[in-house]
Amino acid sequence: MTLYRAAPAATLRIVPLDALTLIYHRASGITHVVDAPVPEILEALAEPLGIDLLLARLAAGYDLLDADPAALAARLDELAAAGLVERL
């Protein structure tokens, strides 16, 4: 099973604004403008988690509109491609 972990906290500057959150990724110099649940995913992935456990944590902590493992996997792939999440 693939485990995911957020990029080291020291490499991210996370600034919540209104509905959206800004993330400056120091490693790439790229600014990301993200919506929920991305900040929540990054927070949960402070420790390595698999998709099922991550989904359970998110569902317990937040009102997930769409608790779908396939959708979450797609989000994690995007975040991994951006360098905000690492696959272990």
């Binding site: 800004l22 400056y24 600014t31």
Partner: protein, 281 residues
């Protein structure tokens, strides 16, 4: 270069070298009340691509410390515009000390209103109209945001009036100094307006940003708040050096949008816009 003008606009010094006398004479005249820099930050070169093109169908190429390859030359009659474009280009491509916002700004009681938008939104005209109303003009093209202090620094270059804005400002400021009418430029007719004495005298004084305005000309009056995230995205698009400044740029811009309210206004004419701005600021 045969002819040279040196001038300082806000915190930035320029040296403009030119193969022809006329553009430098126009700069010397229109910027006559501006200070001279001890050491220029940027050099602009206005030159003929071939020696004979200095005289024969003279066309002005824009060069300098920072250049855009293949930029189209301008006819000598538009040499003043070439000089202004050359200085803008150095700022847009070379400025590293400040976060550069493509915006106009005016200040009253230490509070600066920043106005940004696409070409034709009214940045220059609104800044010039506010100047005519007694505001301190900070600039019609660039606002320089200090990443350390968060303050807005002025860049009061000549105000670039285009097309229908020209008669509006000639009527509003009949005693002001204007440059020549430059007809047939890539943006239509352009006429430069010299900022008033106060704008020049106070150009080294920064101001606290108090309002980020997103004006649109040509619509019925309307106003809405612009949330910080939208202001952030629009201002990154309005900055030529956000990416180059890296985390300093991110910090400067997040600080701005978190602390300063954003408003979008639609307006059909200058009078309406002035009333809206003065009610907001």
């Amino acid at each position: 270069m045969r002819h040279v003008a040196s001038l300082r606009i806000g915190p930035v010094g320029f040296r403009v070298g030119c193969d022809w006398r006329a553009p430098v004479a126009a700069l010397d005249d229109l910027y006559r009340d501006y200070p001279k820099p001890e050491i220029p930050d940027f050099n602009v070169h206005l030159f003929a691509a071939r020696p004979w093109r200095r005289l024969l169908r003279p066309s002005v190429h824009i060069g300098g410390d920072f250049v855009i390859p293949d930029a189209a030359p301008l006819p000598l009659a538009q040499g003043l515009l070439a000089a202004e474009m050359g200085m803008n280009l150095q700022m847009a491509l070379g400025q590293r000390g400040y976060l550069l916002l493509h915006a106009s700004a005016a200040e009253r009681n230490g509070r600066a209103v920043l106005m940004t938008g696409i070409s034709g939104a009214g940045k220059s005209t609104l800044a010039a109209l506010l100047m005519a109303r007694g505001w301190r003009l900070m600039g019609d093209e660039f606002v320089l945001l200090d990443p350390v202090t968060g303050l807005a620094h002025a860049f009061p270059r000549l105000i670039s009036l285009k097309n229908e804005a020209i008669p509006v400002m000639e009527a509003a400021l009949p005693n002001a100094r204007f440059g020549p009418s430059l007809v047939g430029t890539p943006k239509g007719t352009i006429r430069h307006l010299v900022p008033d004495a106060r704008a020049i005298a106070a150009m080294a004084e920064p101001a606290e940003p108090a309002l980020i305005l997103f004006p649109r000309f040509g619509f019925e009056p309307a106003e809405r708040p612009v949330p910080p995230s939208e202001a952030f995205v629009r201002l990154t698009q309005a900055s030529t050096n956000y990416v180059n400044l890296a985390e300093r740029g991110f910090d400067a811009l997040t600080r701005l949008v978190r602390t300063v309210p954003g408003r979008a206004i639609d307006y059909p004419d200058g009078k309406t816009a002035l009333a809206m701005i003065e009610a907001l600021a």
